[in-house]
Every structure is written in C-alpha cells, then in structure tokens.
C-alpha cells in the first residue's frame, strides 16, 4: 500500500504540473457557473449540466487514460525493474489518474453549488458529482485496459474514441431502431438489460429518476422507469453503476499483471 501511495504521489505531481487538469476543472466550473447564472432555475441548470457530464466525462476519461498509459510506458518499465510488485504499480497509477480526473469534476461542479449553499438542489448536485465520478472510474478503467491491450498508440486512441461514440452517441439510437423493427414483441426486459449494459445510460437514469424527469430519459431509460419505482430504480441504477466503476479497473489490473512490457 505504501509503495502504491508513493507511486501515486509522483504521478499526481506529474499530471498536476501538466495543467491539463486545470483546464478540465475550469471547463466544468464555467459550464456550471454559466448555467446557474443564466440557465433559469437550479433544477433546469442541473438537467443541462447532467447532459454535459454524460457527454464529456466519458470522453475525457477514456482519452486521457489511454494516452497517459501509453506515454508512461517506458517509465513504468523502469519502475517495474525495481523491487516493486505489479499490483502496487497498477494501483498507484490508476489511483492517481482516478483522483485527478474526479477532482476536476468535484471542484468544477461542486464549487459553484457550494458557494451558493447548494442553490436549493445541493443533494441533487452531489448525486450528479457522484455520477460523474462513477463515469470517470468506468471510462478511465476502460482506457487503461484498452491501452494495455493495444500496443499501437494510435490504434488504442481510435478504439477509445470508438468505445465512447458507441456508448454516448450510438447506443440509444441503435436500440431505438431495433425496438422499432421488433414492434409488438415483449422488449421491456431486454431493454432493462440494455440499460444496465451501458454505464452512461445508467448514470442518466440515476440522475433523471432522482429529478423525476422521464421526458429526457432516452429510449432505454424510459423502459427502466416503467419497471421500477423512482426510489427502487435510482437505487438499482446506482448500485449497477458502482459495479461498473469497479469492473474495468479490475480488468485493467488483470491485464497489467500479465502484460509483457
């Protein structure tokens, strides 16, 4: 654990000095501030912010993680040539990445709400930050696993963009087309599974069920609301999202343990 912490500390320092993270935090800070000032009531601002988070967080996390792992490869080799275990090395690197990306969201979204005493939607804002952090973990873990599995940097980057595009853009549209083609068939359960299979959909369901705005739920999310009450649905989606957050990181750890550098 101490070894992982030491590795994480220096990785944190390296990334902090690159100033990339500040740009990320400032983006959320500006978006939140502008929406709270000019976006009507705080709930509407939060809904708009949810769309921004669902779109940008997965992209930033998966791209950053993929690039970071590839760039750090030679240094990782040097560290692994020391008397250091691979699990500690992975834990330190992943933790640094997850903490930094999450900090960008916590500060960027959290601060404007905190300065307004929660703006009357403090609990909802905390939930949005939590969903953003969960998506960060999912997609940072996915990016790490991708980078470990794909030695070619450009190819890994391309696949990362493809994964994001599928999950964030194409998923709902493909399911809508499929459901239209299969009109009349009992699709509620398959659509529930489809929602559980996409962490972005899950995060959307968590937020919008909590805010009780089914109109913006998306096709898969709408089927979720038909099957569960708001409380049960939010809880099931939140637990599934938490499981998703752990999955890619565990896969990354497994790949790292077996990786030939």
């Amino acid at each position: 654990m101490r070894v992982a912490a030491k590795i994480a500390a220096f990785q944190l320092l390296d990334v902090l000095r690159s100033r990339w993270l500040f740009g990320y935090a400032i983006f959320f800070l500006l978006a939140t501030e502008l929406l709270l000032r000019f976006g009507g009531d705080p709930t509407r601002a939060l809904v708009s912010l949810t769309s921004i988070v669902l779109f940008t967080v997965p992209l930033a996390a998966i791209v950053f993680a993929t690039i970071y792992v590839h760039r750090a490869r030679e240094f990782v080799e040097l560290l692994l040539a020391q008397p250091v275990g691979r699990d500690a090395m992975f834990a330190g690197t992943y933790a640094a990445m997850a903490v930094l990306l999450s900090a960008g969201i916590v500060l960027g979204i959290g601060m404007p709400f905190a300065l307004r005493g929660g703006a009357g939607v403090g609990g909802d804002a905390v939930l949005l930050v939590g969903a953003g952090v969960a998506l960060t973990l999912v997609f940072a873990g996915t990016g790490v696993a991708l980078a470990l599995r794909t030695d070619d940097r450009l190819r890994a980057f391309g696949i990362a963009l493809g994964v994001w595009a599928c999950a964030a853009l194409a998923y709902d549209a493909v399911l809508l087309v499929a459901a239209t083609a299969l009109a009349g068939a009992p699709l509620e359960r398959p659509l529930l599974v489809a929602t559980l299979a996409n962490p972005i959909d899950l995060a959307r369901v968590v937020m919008l069920m909590h805010l009780d705005i089914s109109a913006l739920m998306g096709y898969t999310g709408a089927s979720f609301t038909r099957l569960f009450s708001a409380t049960a649905g939010t809880a099931i989606a939140a637990v599934s999202l938490a499981a998703w957050a752990a999955g890619p990181a565990l896969l990354g750890a497994r790949l790292f343990r077996r990786k030939d550098f």
Partner: protein, 238 residues
C-alpha cells in the same frame, strides 16, 4: 550467477526466444549481441520480470525469478529508451526510485557526480537534452550499488566524455566482483569492455563464452569481424 534454462518466449506467432540456455558468470562483463530481432532485449526483459517467459526458468544467485519482485533489489537497469515523466524534475525521478528501494538501500552517487548531473537535478525532464536524460538513466542503473547491472544499449545518445565515464564505471564494477550484462551494436565498445560474449541468433544461443575463445574460434582478431563471421556459421556453443 544468472542462469537461463530452456527459456522460451513467443509474441503471437513469432518465436523470439527458442530455448535459451545460458550461464552469466559473476564478476564479468557479458555482452549480449545479435542481429536486430535476435531476442536480446526480450532476454533482458525476462530477467527483469518485464516479459513473462512461456517456458523455462531464470535464476539469479540461485533464486528463481517469479512473481516475488524482491530479487530485483540486486539489479540495476538502464533501458535503451530513457523516458521519464516530463513534468517531474530529475531530482524527483531519482526520489521515486529512492522511495521504492527503501531506507536500507546502499546509495552510490558516483555517476551522478562524474556525469555532472547535479546542475540538472532541478530541471524538468522535458527541458533536459536527450543526452542528459540518458546520463540520468545510466546513473540511476548504478544508484543502488547493485550486484547485477543490466544495460540495454547504454551508450546511445551519450557524448564521448560521458561514454568514457560509463566504461570506467563498468570496469570498476567488474573489479569489485559485480556482474554487468550489456547489449550494444557498437562492437568496438564491447571489444573494450566485454569478458564474455553471448551471441543470439533467431532466439537461440549461437555462441556463449569468452571473447578470447571467440577470436580463436573465428580466427578474427577484432570482435566486430568475429561476430560478423559468427552470423554466417551454424549454431555452436563454446
């Protein structure tokens, strides 16, 4: 003593190491040579635990190389590409390794002094020249006074003065009974340094023995020509 026994490694359909049997003797400088893709770097990476062999085993001073990383406390390593985190300073990079080795590690600052790294210690890596980065990489390989030093193309990017310092250090380590394993394409350099030669050809040991015997065997007085002639001979182990 480093022992490789029937070491095998493939990357996909490509067999890189095809049953390497080898003993690297302590207190000697052993050069691993061979054409591009012969398996030199893979052999070294297997020793360091960076690449997992498909078969065979490696022992360092009798300890089998496996999942326990403790054996690497005895090893110092410089790779052929010296890339460090760009936004850290040379001092911070050094501190990371010092932190990982623990307080009980013996520290040897000699190369930091002789390669004049001190003025660059507070410079961020991205502002360092390629040569200075390589000096740092080489100095880090010797920092913990390791019993075994593994150097993969260490002179690439070093200026002649730094290269001379490195050669002196390698020879002084040898005189202290330490083992140096080095790969290089610069045969004149190895001619000067190496006691033993391991010649890899297509993932197998083509020759393993002293430089002197190799010269006799090939009838060539210079290492470069001796190696070149080996490339055209059948597999022979001395």
């Amino acid at each position: 003593m480093i022992e490789f026994r029937a070491l095998m490694k493939s990357f996909g359909a490509r067999d890189v190491l095809r049953g390497v049997d080898l003993c690297v003797r302590p207190g000697r400088v052993t050069a691993v040579v061979g054409s591009n893709g012969a398996g030199k770097t893979t052999l070294i990476k297997c020793l360091l635990g960076l690449v997992r062999p498909d078969g065979g085993e490696i022992r360092v001073d009798g300890v089998r190389v496996g999942d326990d990383p403790a054996y690497r406390a005895a090893i110092g390593y410089a790779s052929q590409t010296s890339r460090f985190p760009e936004h850290l300073t040379a001092r911070e990079v050094t501190k990371i390794l010092l932190g990982l080795r623990g307080e009980s590690a013996v520290i040897d600052w000699e190369l930091f002094e002789r390669l004049a790294i001190a003025p660059h210690l507070d410079t961020r890596v991205r502002a360092l020249s390629g040569g200075t980065r390589q000096k740092l990489a080489v100095a880090l390989a010797f920092l913990f006074a390791p019993r075994v030093v593994v150097l993969d193309e260490p002179s690439a990017g070093l200026d002649p003065a730094a290269n001379a310092v490195l050669k002196d250090k390698i020879l002084s380590e040898r005189s202290e009974g330490k083992t140096v394993l080095v790969t290089s394409h610069v045969m004149s350099e190895l001619d000067e340094l190496a006691d033993d030669i391991v010649f890899l050809r297509a993932g197998r040991v083509g020759y393993a023995g002293s430089v002197q015997k190799l010269r006799v065997f090939t009838g060539q007085p210079h290492l470069e020509r001796a190696i070149a002639s080996m490339m055209n001979k059948e597999v022979v182990c001395a």
